[in-house]
Symmetry: C2
Subunit: 184 residues, 2 copies
């Protein structure tokens, strides 16, 4: 049986928009039956749920008793990068604008929350998935690097992880190739 | 031969961060040689490049003469949703805050630009990929629906497309299931 997590209750403006709809819809298109696991208030932040979905988001997905490994490539692009890119845009494009000054503390807090979730999920492992370097690490590293103008990665305890990614010879060759194009 | 697009020039703060690095790195990890197609100033907005990469972003990817079809599932999550979610957060969570009032026009403009790119890519087709409903349409529709409190989808000429997605029986069953959970 497929199990999809969803919230037991959300504010009216979010009803019909919550992102478990994406998986429910895909399963309906495929004609696959599923059960829902409804999360009570606050349950999204429990250690048990965070182990299943590191960011406390819905949906999380289970199939035949197997809790699907976090798709870190997607998580990097959709759960982590938007918060990081918002903060980077404030710092790099809009730093002198009044709204940016007012918004920056809240934007940084969102980033710190996301980074903490990544750090918790990584734990003492070297890589995000099965402790082997994967496309998820590649994408996460390029997302984390967007914060190189801050000390947030170090403060989140992700400095060693990012350094480990950046030490890969393939990364260095790729970086050199990008920089060489600018120098030409 | 694999060809990856990149920018000929970017401001110093972006050097070493531009997102073609992601594909360069992956190709280096795989040991696959590639050529770069460097875009001159403004070329990212040309009709020819937009046909390859609808949002004027890098990287775009070509392999053995085949320009890879846009990965609309990823595009929905990473090229469209962040702008839409930023605007929705302003309207639904922060409407009374000063920064949100100051930022809203710029945030809406970013959304309008993204929606225009989707509309141009869709053209007169019914669906985004090979004119058949796919996971890309499913994801794009759930992203566009986040703007239901505005008239931006209609104004962008995407109203018929979104209605077409929402008319699918599988969508209706999924929506009903989410709403039923809230009613319980």
């Amino acid at each position: 049986m497929i199990i999809v997590s969803a919230f037991k209750s959300v504010p009216p403006f979010a009803r019909g928009l919550v992102r478990d709809l994406r998986v429910r819809w895909a399963l309906e298109e495929a004609g696959l039956p599923y059960e829902q696991k409804l999360l009570a208030d606050g349950e999204k932040d429990s250690a048990d749920y965070r182990e299943w979905q590191p960011f406390g988001q819905v949906p999380a997905y289970e199939e035949d008793g197997l809790r699907r490994a976090t798709e870190w490539l997607i998580a990097a692009l959709n759960s982590v990068e938007p918060a990081i890119q918002s903060l980077a845009a404030i710092d790099l494009f809009y730093a002198q604008e009044e709204w940016a000054k007012l918004r920056r503390p809240g934007a940084e807090e969102m980033v710190r929350n996301r980074l903490a979730a990544v750090q918790t999920a990584l734990g003492n492992d070297h890589w995000l998935t099965d402790n082997r370097f994967s496309a998820g690490d590649l994408m996460m590293a390029t997302v984390l690097r967007i914060l190189r103008h801050t000390d947030l990665i170090e403060k989140a305890g992700l400095g060693d992880y990012l350094a480990r990614c950046e030490e890969r010879p393939a990364f260095q060759r790729a970086l050199d190739a990008q920089m060489a194009a600018f120098a030409a």
